[in-house]
Amino acid sequence: MILSRAARIWLGTLTSLVLALIYLPLAVVIINSFNSSRTFAWPPPGLTLAWWGKAAQSQGLRDSLWNSIQAGLFATLFALILGTMLASAVARFSFFGRETLSLLVVLPLALPGIVTGVALSNTITTVLHPLGISAGLFTVVVGHATFCMVVVYNNVLARLRRTGGTLEEASADLGADRFRTFRLVTFPLIRSALLAGALLAFALSFDEIIVTTFTAGNFKTLPLWIFENLFRPNQAPVINVAAAALIVLAIAPVWLAHRLGGDAAGGRL
C-alpha cells in the first residue's frame, strides 16, 4: 500500500475520464459514418448504411487506398532489412560511434516531420530530377522507410538485448556455421519482434501525411486524398466512412503487435 486510498480513487477517476475523452472524437466519427443527415446534424436524426455503399463506389478512394498499401508494403520491407541489420550491429558489437549512431537512427522521429519533408523535397528537385527521377512511389517509400526503420530497429534491438548472445555462441560451439545459426537460432528468436515491428512500420507509413506531402508528386496516398476532399461538402459522407474504416483498421495491427511482441506496443514506440 503505497498510495493512499483517496489518491488511488482519484487516479482511477482521472484515468477513466481521460480515456473517455480520447475515444469520444473517434466514436463521433464512427457514428457520423452512419448519420442519415447530409449535414451531419448532431445528434443524428437517423442511421443509414447508404454512405458505406457510396464510399465503396468511390474511385478516388479506392485508388488512393491501393497506393497507400503499396507504399506501406515497400517501406516496411526496406525498414525491416535496414532496421534489423542496424539493430544486430548495435546489440552485438561495441564500436566507435555507436552512441552517435543510435542517436542518428531516432533523428528522423525526433526532428519535426516538416524538416524531413522539405529536405527530401529539395533533394528531389535539385538532385533526383536532373537524374530523371521524379516524385512518386519511389520517393514516398524512401521518405517513409527513413522513419519506419526506427520502429523495427527498436523492436529488434530490445529483443536481441533481452536474449543476449549466448545462444548464438552455443550454436557455433555445436558446429553450426554463421548462416545456419542465423536460420535456426537468431531468426526464430527475433521472428515475432520482426513481425511486430513490421506491423507498426506499416501502420506508421499508412498514416503518414507530412513527409508524404512533400515527396508524393502526383502519387496520391489515402491520407492525401482524404485531406484533399476534407473541405468539399459533397464528399463529406465518403470521408466519414473512410475515416471510420481507418479507425477500425488501426486497431487490428496494434492489437496484433501487442500480442506478438510483448515489448512491441508496450514500453516504447
Partner: protein
C-alpha cells in the same frame, strides 16, 4: 497442447570446404568484417538519404529563386535568412509556434501523469495490459481522422459547440489547434512516463511514507525528480511533433498560421524552394538546442 517427441536431431553435417563455408569461417574470424557488413546498408541509407538530404537543404537555403523564370539562382546569398529575421511577421509566427509547442507539452505532461501513475502503480497486471493497448491504439488510428474528428466536434453544429452553447459559430482557432495537438500527441507522453514510473521501485515510495511523507509530498519530492528523464523524453516527442505539424492548423485552426504552414506555403504555393529551405532551419535549430539542453538528463537513451 500436445507434446510430440521430435526426432533426435541429426548430427551436424561436417562443414565442407565450400564457398559458403569459406565465407562463414572468414566472417567468424573477422568481427570487423561482420560489423561493416551489417552497418554498410543502414549507414549508407541514413547518411545519404537522410543526412545528405538535410545537408542539401542547408545549401539550397543560400540560393534564391528567379521571380521571372522560377529557375533556381545558385549564387550564395544571405537574403533568405535576412528576410526571415527581418520581417516581423515571421518572428510573430515563430514565437506563436514555440508557445503552442510548449503549451501542448505542458498540457500533455499534466494530463498524462495521473494515467501513467495509475497504470504503473495502481492497476492490476491484467488491467494494466489492457490500459497500455487502450492508450496505444489511438496513436495508430489515422492522425488525419483524429484532427477531422475534432473538426466535426467543434463545427458550428457539433457536440462541443452545442455543449458550450454557441451553435452556428465554429470554435476553430489557436486554442482549438493547441487542444487538438495535445490530444494527438498525448500517447507519446503517457508511454515514456509509464515506463519511467514502472522502473521506480515501490520500496522508494514506501521509504518516503515511512519517513512521514504523505501522498503529495512523496509525489513531489521522490517521484517527480526521478521522473525527469521520462518527462523530457516525452516532451521531445510532443514538442517536436507540434513544431513540425502542418495539418492541424489547417483543419481546426481557422485562419491560424503556424511556422510549418509558412514553410509549406512558400514551398508549395509560392514555389520558393530556397526560402522554404531557409525557413526549415528554424525547427532544426530549435530541436538541436532542445536536444543539446536535455542531453545531460539521459533522456535521449529513453527515446
Amino acid at each position: 497442447m500436445t507434446i510430440t517427441q521430435a526426432k533426435p536431431p541429426a548430427p551436424p553435417r561436417p562443414e565442407r570446404s565450400t564457398l559458403r563455408h569459406g565465407i562463414s569461417v572468414g566472417l567468424a574470424r573477422r568481427a570487423w568484417l561482420r560489423l561493416s557488413g551489417l552497418l554498410s546498408l543502414p549507414l549508407f541509407w541514413l547518411v545519404v538519404a537522410y543526412l545528405g538530404a538535410l545537408a542539401a537543404m542547408f545549401v539550397t537555403a543560400f540560393w534564391t529563386i528567379d521571380s521571372f523564370t522560377s529557375e533556381l539562382d545558385k549564387t550564395f546569398t544571405w537574403e533568405n535568412f535576412r528576410t526571415l529575421v527581418g520581417k516581423p511577421v515571421y518572428r510573430t509566427v515563430a514565437v506563436r509556434s514555440l508557445v503552442v509547442a510548449a503549451g501542448v507539452t505542458l498540457i500533455d505532461a499534466v494530463v498524462a501523469m495521473p494515467i501513467a501513475l495509475y497504470m504503473a502503480k495502481v492497476a492490476k497486471p491484467r488491467t494494466r495490459a489492457l490500459l497500455v493497448v487502450l492508450v496505444m491504439t489511438p496513436l495508430w488510428a489515422s492522425y488525419l481522422v483524429k484532427a477531422y474528428a475534432w473538426r466535426v466536434m467543434l463545427s458550428g453544429d457539433g457536440p462541443v459547440t452545442r455543449l458550450v452553447g454557441t451553435v452556428g459559430e465554429p470554435l476553430y482557432g489557436l486554442g482549438a489547434t493547441t487542444v487538438v495537438l495535445a490530444y494527438l500527441w498525448l500517447p507519446y507522453m503517457i508511454i515514456p512516463l509509464f515506463a519511467g514510473i514502472d522502473r521506480i521501485p515501490n520500496s522508494m515510495l514506501e521509504a518516503s511514507a515511512d519517513l512521514g511523507g504523505r501522498t503529495w509530498r512523496t509525489y513531489r519530492s521522490v517521484l517527480l525528480p526521478l521522473l525527469a528523464p521520462a518527462l523530457v523524453a516525452g516532451s521531445i516527442f510532443t514538442f517536436s511533433l507540434s513544431l513540425g505539424d502542418l495539418y492541424t492548423a489547417k483543419i481546426v485552426g481557422g485562419t491560424t498560421q503556424l511556422f510549418s504552414n509558412v514553410i509549406y506555403d512558400n514551398l508549395v504555393t509560392a514555389n520558393n524552394l530556397p526560402f522554404a529551405a531557409a525557413a526549415g532551419a528554424f525547427p532544426v535549430l530549435v530541436m538541436v538546442i532542445y536536444l543539446a539542453a536535455v542531453k545531460r538528463t539521459g533522456a535521449l537513451e529513453n527515446l
